[in-house]
Symmetry: C2
Subunit: 198 residues, 2 copies
């Protein structure tokens, strides 16, 4: 997949639409050259503009320590093309295998302004600055962030609209249930009379 | 739709799978016989067992006042069959029209142990007790709840598993983007080797 040419910045006022779906994500963090990426099912939008988001990261994860110790994290939405990589990133801990990222098959790249590794085969990549609600992280493993910058693959998100109808089928985002079982995003459903809200 | 015979309690240890998808929901609250229901895109799972969840409800909504003043709220996942009702519940405020619920076309019913109105045509219904994090509600409009009881339609969720593959097509849950535009939940995608996590 030569995705690099398709990665475009997303207008800040439309970035919430990337988070709106509540799709399964990859969460990445980095400190002093040490990085980790893990799958996380529990992420959500928290505000429109600037876009804010929440994500739940349990204390048992290596990624969690990096998130506790740094000010930024990335949320990326993996597509069907990398469902197997997503499972590996979600089931193997860097606490157990320091070579986790290399062995996962994830193809990593960098985006401007951050050293957090991004994963090829995602539909979008969002960089967040932590909102500093330490009590929420301590009590509920809940992190709150405000968007710094978002990027998306222009085959699947353009001009503020998801294009799953026309995108390659393996670019569907995913919704995880359990046991390696996901659902893909499906067909559009439009309720008439609400175009003015678009 | 004669759904009542299909509504079954969900085992507490599997209820998080209802929230896992991050699908668009209806949030309902009730105080002294006054109830409201609104569509909300931003809800998520917060913990496995007991299941906890988050939902974002802006201060402008009538539902919000009810949620501020009571200890319980319900999260329900509307299906494609009631997408139009979902849009009405999400775009008309009871602040503007006290007859909002009656005019929305929502068919309401009650479940044991709560006076919060539930909506026919949902895939599942979850009753939460607020966790009392008032600062989060005040600052971010974010409510945290712990599950009291969950129910699901056994045509679409049974023995802890979603059955979108075999359920009637209009029982698909929905993911809202903007402007009346949803996506349905789509096809399953299974990554082999993770059955032990099911």
């Amino acid at each position: 997949m030569d995705q690099m040419a398709h990665i475009k910045p997303v207008a800040p006022e439309k970035a919430y639409r990337l988070m709106n779906l509540g799709a399964t994500c990859l969460v990445a963090a980095e400190k002093d050259g040490d990085a980790d990426i893990m799958a996380a099912g529990w992420n959500d939008c928290l505000d429109l503009v600037p876009c804010k988001a929440t994500v739940v990261i349990d204390k048992s994860h290596y990624t969690r320590r990096l998130m506790d110790e740094t000010d930024y994290f990335a949320i990326q939405l993996p597509t069907a093309a990398i469902a197997d990589v997503t499972m590996k990133l979600g089931s193997i801990s860097k606490n157990d295998d320091p070579q986790k990222l290399e062995k996962s098959g994830a193809k990593l790249f960098k985006l401007p302004g951050t050293d957090i590794p991004m994963v090829e085969g995602c539909a979008c990549w969002l960089l967040f600055r932590k909102l500093g609600e330490e009590a929420m992280a301590k009590t509920y493993d809940l992190f709150l962030g405000e968007l710094v910058q978002a990027w998306a693959d222009d085959r699947v998100f353009q001009d503020g609209h998801w294009l799953f109808e026309t995108a390659p089928k393996d670019m569907a985002v995913l919704f995880y249930v359990a046991g390696g079982h996901f659902y893909r995003i499906g067909e559009p459903l439009d309720v008439k009379g609400y175009d003015h809200l678009d």
